[in-house]
Symmetry: C2
């Protein structure tokens, strides 16, 4: 399928299916080589169409970050779903209902949740979240005893049919380049190994799940893990390019935005494409806060990045773009600019719809 | 209608209808006293239910910021709609179609758009956007001759049935307190007056529309304007409170989020409520970047702000909240925190749904 520019009117998410599928296959190959299970995180695309690019729903284990997403993918045929956010007690009845239909994994990170699990009438897998340095959620990796006691209690729990540990090294998003990514990965791996050694777990086999796009993209071994669960890698984005997770031509998602105002005198154009399309997530590029990078438009998609061309400001529906004067000269009102967003997960979540094309 | 906490499960937008209606009425009274037409900007709520709180659709002129919103409100009965963003040439056929059903006002800010208007077969009103200092879109206010020539051409245009000027002083959002708001308003008013004086327009009466929530909330006269079109005032938010547009008890929108993790040792809890709910818009409070302010939960809504309690970080679905230890002690997993977002327009746009209650 080729891109038909003439059918696009307003801001539109463009997905390069060739690249997305290549990203999917390359992570599959890596997981196979590293002998870990791959459980792609579907929060990035939240689409059942794109979900099927990863394989048959019935045989593809996935992670999601809300009950809502879990229900949507369950309805569309996925059968092994990990909700990778700590259990919200208010959702227990709905979680129980879902557990009657799919192999559901819940995430817990506190003893208080044990008692809540007793209210389930269907069996679930449970992963204990361990914090190896990100500092968002999870039990500190050095609380060996606490984590082991929690696993013991879960093993004895009649509603629990599988046990696991989960780690998310989200601080890899602060990396600049391969060395930083390596640093986060090594530190997190060492801490996980320390925990596993100190616990000396002799119970049922643990599913040990780690995952974030920078380390999964750039590292090739995952010591201690039995599973990886990256998400963003299907599309990548400007943040990932700047972190060093990918190259420009790995990026599979951009937003086409019509030019609605031109200001050559201040080297700016304004597009229809604002905070409700891109989200207000940003990246730092050459010391500047930017919300997206303008790419060269091609007949069927986009090419290389345009130098010195980026979103410098976003209001609700307007995007203010810095562009070189020479480029503004050739732009007419209504021309489409193609922009790689700072964060593709939030852009996709904000816009919901997309158009696919193949190279 | 009272709030029923037990029915809430996930992150939920709460709208205090009593306050929202009070905000609506107070802006109506102000417009009446200042002898200007009020054209509320519906981009803030994007809801036909809330839209009806402003008055009968058929007799309430409104502004919106996209064709999509215009179509939605047109389908629900609104008949006088200004799309307050420069015309996107790719949308001309759809705009023409909409103009067959409602009194449509388009915004233009370049001569190139004149030729495009000839493709319309239905009449429209046209407003020329003037930039009095915000620097986003609009023709610089000192280009008197250019603006006048544009109005002349529009007056002679067979598809144009009403003329206007529009100004948006969006830089009032940078204000800290009444004096700053006054400063922006006076400067913008003087510039508008200068333009009107220099143009010495003798043609058809102009609809001169200005509007941003800070100046419309705090000023009482609008020199040169025949219309105001604020939007955010229906809810207000943390940004508006910090700008000085409103008081805490004018704020009519907050998000209830369940606590899913507790960390007394680092004075933090984590809620289900992330960037896809709050957006990543932020405010600066006590020198800190914050995404929302935690309020005291009451039996039916929320009360005063909790000291030193705010969203310090947002990932896709997680919100990291700084909270005093004393408050964390009393919180259980699943308890709801009520949080006023930095920017209510983006929160409402991200979440789409809401629950109403009355004081």
């Amino acid at each position: 399928m080729k891109l038909n520019w003439s059918t696009l009117t307003g801001p539109t998410v463009l997905v390069n299916r060739t690249r997305a599928k290549r990203n999917i296959e390359s992570m599959k190959a890596k997981a196979e080589a590293a002998q870990v299970q791959l459980r792609p995180h579907f929060k990035t695309h939240q689409s059942t169409i794109i979900g099927k690019w990863f394989g048959t729903p019935e045989t593809t284990p996935i992670a999601v970050s809300s009950l809502k997403m879990a229900n949507e993918f369950a309805s569309a045929g996925w059968r092994d779903i990990h909700i990778a956010i700590p259990v919200n007690p208010r959702e227990l009845p709905a979680l129980n209902n879902l557990a009657s239909k799919v192999n559901l994994t819940l995430s817990i990170e506190h003893e208080d949740t044990l008692e809540l699990l007793s209210h389930l009438s269907h069996k679930v897998a449970v992963s204990v979240e361990v914090d190896t340095g990100y500092g968002r959620t999870g039990i500190h990796w050095q609380q060996y005893g606490r984590i082991k006691r929690l696993l013991d209690a879960l093993q004895a729990h009649k509603q629990v049919n599988q046990l696991g540990l989960m780690v998310h090294s989200g601080h890899s998003y602060l990396a600049h380049g391969l060395k930083d990514i390596q640093g986060v990965h090594q530190e997190s791996s060492h801490r996980l190994k320390e925990l596993l050694d100190m616990m000396d777990w002799q119970g049922e086999p643990l599913r040990v799940s780690i995952g974030d796009t920078p380390t999964c993209s750039q590292m090739s071994t995952f010591p201690g893990a039995t599973e990886i669960r990256p998400g963003n890698y299907v599309f990548y984005d400007l943040q990932q390019k700047l972190i060093g997770s990918c190259d420009w031509n790995d990026i599979a998602l951009a937003v086409a935005c019509p030019v609605i105002a031109r200001y050559p005198e201040r080297e700016e154009v304004v597009v229809h494409g604002g905070a409700v399309h891109f989200s207000k997530d940003s990246a730092e590029m050459n010391g500047q806060k930017v919300f997206g990078q303008v790419m060269h438009t091609t007949e069927n998609g986009w090419g290389a990045p345009v130098g010195d061309a980026y979103i410098k400001g976003l209001s609700q529906e307007h995007g203010k773009i810095h562009l070189p004067k020479t480029m503004i000269k050739d732009l007419k009102l209504g021309d489409m600019l193609v922009i790689v967003p700072a964060h593709s997960c939030l852009t996709m979540s904000a816009m919901g719809e997309f158009i696919c094309f193949d190279d």
